[in-house]
């Protein structure tokens, strides 16, 4: 397993991180934003202001470290549903994401110039789309690498196999980031697969690497190498990020019903954020002052996003019929008219 920063935040022997200190600070900021947003989103869900939410907590190094290797101008992110900081960094505004969780359908769209696909709940189906997208970019000689995320649970789906196989055959410019967070709701990693996920890549004809998914520097390095491979048309890479889900599957879940005694406490010892803070403190780039400053900025940023989302227009009944077709078939148009009669117009 590739590792650069150990659990205590020390560089392992002889390691020379590729991620500059300046960009490590940037990465830390994204990780802290993610952690803080998880807490706010969970509170808002409990208050009934937001719908079901899946926290990133514990997996920030994997999500942020991988996405830091991408150029948002040319590269693409194909998410599952637990990659929020990567999406925001890539250009999907936080307030639109919040609006989506608030059920504000029309206000949640990914902006036209942002290379992000929508969240995917039918697990592993997105990998097939990601492969097609990467293959299509290559066919059209467009620059760009696709980074596709899935969990270790989704890796049991047939779509994982089909997508990885197709990616290998087409030598598509894609990086599969497998968020191996040990839990698919209550099903443990051991019950998903008897083998190591990264080894599967060899069978598809491309490299697979296993990294400490709680190590920002190691994830970044593996991702940067994979993105470079894809850019020079050397094909896909599978990155198995070994990490730990430190929160629940989503806000409807109660992990105390299934987590083994002591599992969470042990996993918390591997906290990805604390490691980076310790590392940066050693370098003289992190202290109580900088922490307070960053936390203050993040709070403001999240407050602003929530306020902006709250001000966006709520969904209207007629939104049911928006974006189903480019133009509504007559029969569906009649149904829309019937609904509008019920609502007394477009409200």
């Amino acid at each position: 397993m590739q590792r650069i920063l150990d659990s205590q935040g020390n560089l392992v022997n002889g390691a020379e991180p590729r991620l500059s200190l300046e960009r490590t600070v940037e990465g830390l900021r994204w990780m802290m934003l993610s952690r803080a947003f998880d807490a706010r989103a969970t509170a808002l869900q409990r208050q009934g202001r937001m719908g079901t939410y899946s926290p990133v907590k514990g997996q920030e190094a994997s999500v942020v470290g991988s996405s830091l290797a991408l150029d948002p101008a040319t590269d693409w992110i194909v998410p599952a549903y637990r990659e929020l900081p990567a999406l925001v960094r890539h250009g999907h505004p936080l307030e639109r994401i919040v609006a989506g969780y608030m059920g504000k359908v029309a206000s949640s769209a990914i902006p036209e110039d942002t290379n992000v696909l929508p969240n995917q709940v039918a697990l592993a189906t997105q990998l097939q789309h990601a492969v097609g997208l990467a293959w299509g970019l290559k066919l059209q000689r467009k620059p760009g690498v696709v980074m596709a995320y899935c969990g270790e649970g989704a890796a049991s789906e047939g779509d994982f196999h089909e997508a990885a196989n197709m990616a290998g055959v087409r030598r598509a410019p894609i990086v599969f980031v497998l968020m191996n967070n040990q839990w698919a709701i209550s099903t443990s990693r051991e019950l998903q697969s008897a083998g190591e996920f990264y080894r599967r890549a060899e069978g598809y004809g491309f490299p697979g690497v296993q990294v400490d998914g709680n190590d920002l520097l190691a994830v970044y390095e593996a991702a940067a190498e994979a993105v470079e491979r894809a850019r020079r048309d050397d094909g896909p890479t599978l990155i198995d990020c070994v990490t730990f889900r430190l929160s629940f599957h989503n806000t409807t879940d109660n992990p105390s019903a299934y987590l083994p005694e002591g599992w969470l406490e042990r996993a918390e010892q591997e906290d990805p954020i604390r490691r980076v803070q310790t590392y940066l403190a050693e370098k003289g780039l992190w202290d109580d002052g900088s922490r307070a400053a960053v936390e203050g900025e993040i709070t403001e940023q999240i407050d602003a996003a929530i306020q902006a989302a709250a001000a966006m227009r709520a969904s209207r009944a007629a939104d049911l019929f928006e974006n189903v077709y480019a133009s509504l078939p007559e029969r569906v148009g009649r149904q829309r008219a019937e609904l509008l009669r019920l609502t007394g117009g477009d409200v």
Partner: protein, 325 residues
């Protein structure tokens, strides 16, 4: 103008559109070197090269899922599923993914993908090859389901499908692939979706069908004519969008109708046709509408398909009873 059968008309349509629009690519099983198991893509590989005519791994979900991604990248994929019955292995990528991508992305993306798939029985194929599961896709909003029955319609509707910004399931009647030829223009033309075709005029009863069943209804109408019953034949052409107006006006005129399809009876698209006529044409009906369909049993081995599929005899019998009711 040239005389073409359905498979030739489809081949013409694919080549025409690939020539016209370089974004169009064809992918599927055996579509390249072999030219497709029915030769519908014959010659395309030589003409357009391996980047635009792609033999894929044997994975229907991957063909459709990657077609969606290809469309997002800016290409216009025409994906072939070798037989509609094998969409069972791509079902989750068709309705829930292709069909909903515009909606899920709030309009940021759309899936300009055509899925071509032959279907239908009567040609002694192995299991799954004849399955008429078209109604399953009618329940997937966002997908259009179209079923040409003639060479002219096959080319014109294929061009319409490829140019449609939304996903289209284009169902090809394998029994009729080489059944007969008709004039098919070499020039550009499209057949719009949502417009049923009056194939034969008739005053006593309307036979309603799509795809290969249209041809069966025409032969049944010939037989009915000999008995002095004037049967019209209406080809729905597209199930989504459905030509409600055309359907209602034709059945209102005769007051009597029989729906014929190869899918099993229960919840087949015939049920939708009958329910629509009940809502929209009830007071013009002179008799209950009958359905002639396959039974609610699995598609059988070839030795039994003659007993399983609708037959001319059953259509004639149903029409006779409807006309007399």
């Amino acid at each position: 103008m040239a005389q073409r059968n359905i498979v030739e008309a489809i081949r013409d349509g694919l080549a025409f559109e690939m020539e016209r629009d370089e974004r169009v690519i064809v992918l599927g099983l055996d579509v390249g070197r072999l030219g497709g198991v029915f030769r519908a893509t014959q010659g395309l590989l030589d003409r357009f090269g391996p980047e635009r005519v792609v033999d894929t791994p044997l994975a229907e979900g991957g063909i459709i899922g990657s077609a969606l991604g290809l469309a997002i990248s800016g290409l216009i994929p025409v994906a072939e599923i070798q037989f509609l019955g094998f969409t069972h292995q791509a079902f989750h990528q068709i309705g829930p993914q292709l069909g909903r991508y515009r909606y899920r992305s709030r309009g940021r993306y759309h899936a300009q993908v055509t899925i071509r798939a032959p279907f239908g029985g009567g040609v002694r194929t192995p299991e799954f090859h004849p399955d008429a599961v078209e109604a399953q896709f009618v329940q997937a909003p966002g997908i259009k389901v179209v079923c040409p029955a003639t060479p002219y319609d096959a080319k014109g509707m294929l061009l319409e499908a490829i140019r449609d910004p939304d996903p289209v399931l284009f169902l090809e009647p394998q029994r009729l692939y080489r059944k007969g030829r008709e004039e098919v223009p070499d020039s550009d033309y499209t057949v719009p979706f949502g417009k049923a075709r009056q194939v034969r005029e008739g005053g006593d009863v309307t036979l309603i069908a799509w795809s290969a069943a249209v041809e069966m209804c025409l032969r049944a109408a010939d037989e009915l004519q000999r008995e002095g019953i004037s049967a019209g034949v209406l080809d729905l052409r597209t199930l989504v969008p459905l030509d409600v107006e055309g359907l209602v006006s034709e059945v209102s005129r005769t007051g009597r109708a029989v729906v014929v399809h190869e899918a099993p009876l229960s919840a087949g698209f015939g049920a939708e046709v009958v329910a629509t006529l009940q809502e929209e044409a009830f007071y013009s009906l002179d008799a209950p509408i009958r359905r002639v369909t396959a039974w609610d049993t699995p598609y059988p081995p070839a030795s039994l398909e003659g007993w399983y599929l609708p037959t001319i005899r059953r259509v004639v019998d149903a029409a006779r009873k409807t006309a007399a009711a």
